[in-house]
Amino acid sequence: MRSSPASWSGELATRLRKPLAFLHKDFLSNASYKLAFIGQFFNIVFISLSYFFLARLFELSDSPHLERYGGDYFSFVLIGVACGSYLEIALRSFSQSIRDAQMLGTLEALLVTQTEIPTLILSASAYSFIVTSLRMFVFFLLGVLALGFQVEGANYFGALLMLGLTIVSFSSIGIISASFIMVFKRGDPFSWFFTNSSWLLGGVYFPISVLPDWLERVSYLLPITYSLEGMRLALLKGYSLGDLLPTALPLVVFALVMVPASLWIFQRAVVRAKADGTLTQY
């Protein structure tokens, strides 16, 4: 029997109810700290200006490494920093949401509700992703309106698709990181390794073509390399979906393997923490 649009939307509303409850709760909590809430958007201005002036320095050297991306360093690095922010939030937010709940003392109360743990963790991270997206929107808006970020002929749909794949791929690593926190409480090597290697080798601040050959090959083992390449080619060169396929495919494979694996690892971590009686300890 085919479901009607009404029942389909009803089902969607039911599924979204819990993430929305977390968003509402986190918004109320964060908005009550007014200065910090507004202040988080102000530092974007300073970051943007820093990269803008740095870019003016590179303009003079006319680097061949930037030709593939249209030659403008400011546009190049803006996308790099935005993507890097998503990487950080994906790696940190899941484990942070567990740790926050342990420290705040709310974890036990959450765990005895009729909501399964994966839903709790994913919903608890939703606010961080939305705030990061808002910050990145302001970041790009400022770049386009005031600092000369080039977006003529950009393939926005392709960029959004790459962004979606990026978030899903990075999140799987974040969920594995949360599993470490669930069992060991601190000292998560997975997050440390991925954050540092991605910022260094993934092409956030400079094209990976400037790396020695062997390091450039290593950089293709990191999902961020494909994310940045795809986002830049979609936004700065207007690549079509077909053109983006070779860049998107490794991310799709990575997500297909790592998402189920990360959820399995997380379930095992929860069972281990329940057996050790350390679920709510920090």
Partner: protein
Amino acid sequence: MNHAIETLDLGKRYPVPRRYRDLLLRPFSSERRTALEGVSLQLKKGELAGLLGRNGAGKTTLIKILCTLVLPSSGQAFVNGYDVVRDQRAARRSIGFVVSEERSFYWRLTGRQNLGFFATLNNLSGAERDTRIRKVIRLVGLEAHADRMFKDYSSGMKQRLAIARGLLTDPEILFLDEPTKSLDPLIAREVRDLIKGVLVSDQGHSAILATNNLKEAEDLFDHVTILDEGRVLASRPRSEMRALLSGGDNHRIRVRTARGELERLLPSLGVLGFEVEIADSVESGDRHELQITSTAEGLRISELIERMVGAGIEVESCVALEPTLDEIFTRIVERRTRDAA
């Protein structure tokens, strides 16, 4: 099914954190500490059952196992007939857990907003959710404070809100872990009245409450389970707890004899296995009260009274004293400690 909870030979052993030296010298060895051992219990529905024990007795571990927060190492546990390991979701649908931790709420949300959030996580929505929230707020008497931020609540109000949260799903069984801990005596009494009078008697919930407060246990429980070092020392209706004491009957005998004479005569009676003590606090002229405690089973107070009368002590009255739960608990735990030694 008549049991709110049932456990069969339940055990829990926690791993002991290892020192750096052990990690190096014995990397594959693991040491475990027993928190519960051979716990078999049956607690009826509709009752207010108490888990009584000293700190570290295993009360919180038992409650956490029943609330699906900790996995048992051995044995089985059922809540409302659901296995807490195999049917965790179904078990959680039957329970409300009142977390005694003050920090278990979001401090910068109001009481109502906090309840709204937890209600959604418990699959309540729309009008049903709002109605239920209004009902539990009224039930715990927080109508006037529901829209204040949680951070501005007093300790008593925080505990009431915790109880309200536990009731959101109208659960059959409510678990309360030391709900009056850190409350002043007056507020603690209000919370106890709420639990006993409203939740159990009026609303018909079953409640399992852990405490180390004997006064609280005395006031509240229909059924008492005494835990010590992870084992059940006793589990029976409150009214039958006295039967656990072999000996230990208390009597108070009022006599009319000069103090000096009494002190001279009492040792010569040979007190037949009774401990006899003059209760000085009630001394008035020649009237004295004697506190009599039997030290073994089967001793007859009438024999002692006969001897006293025979020795010339004028006995005016004799009253049997019911042992308090405090006395029962102390003696049971002391006996176990003695046996273990």
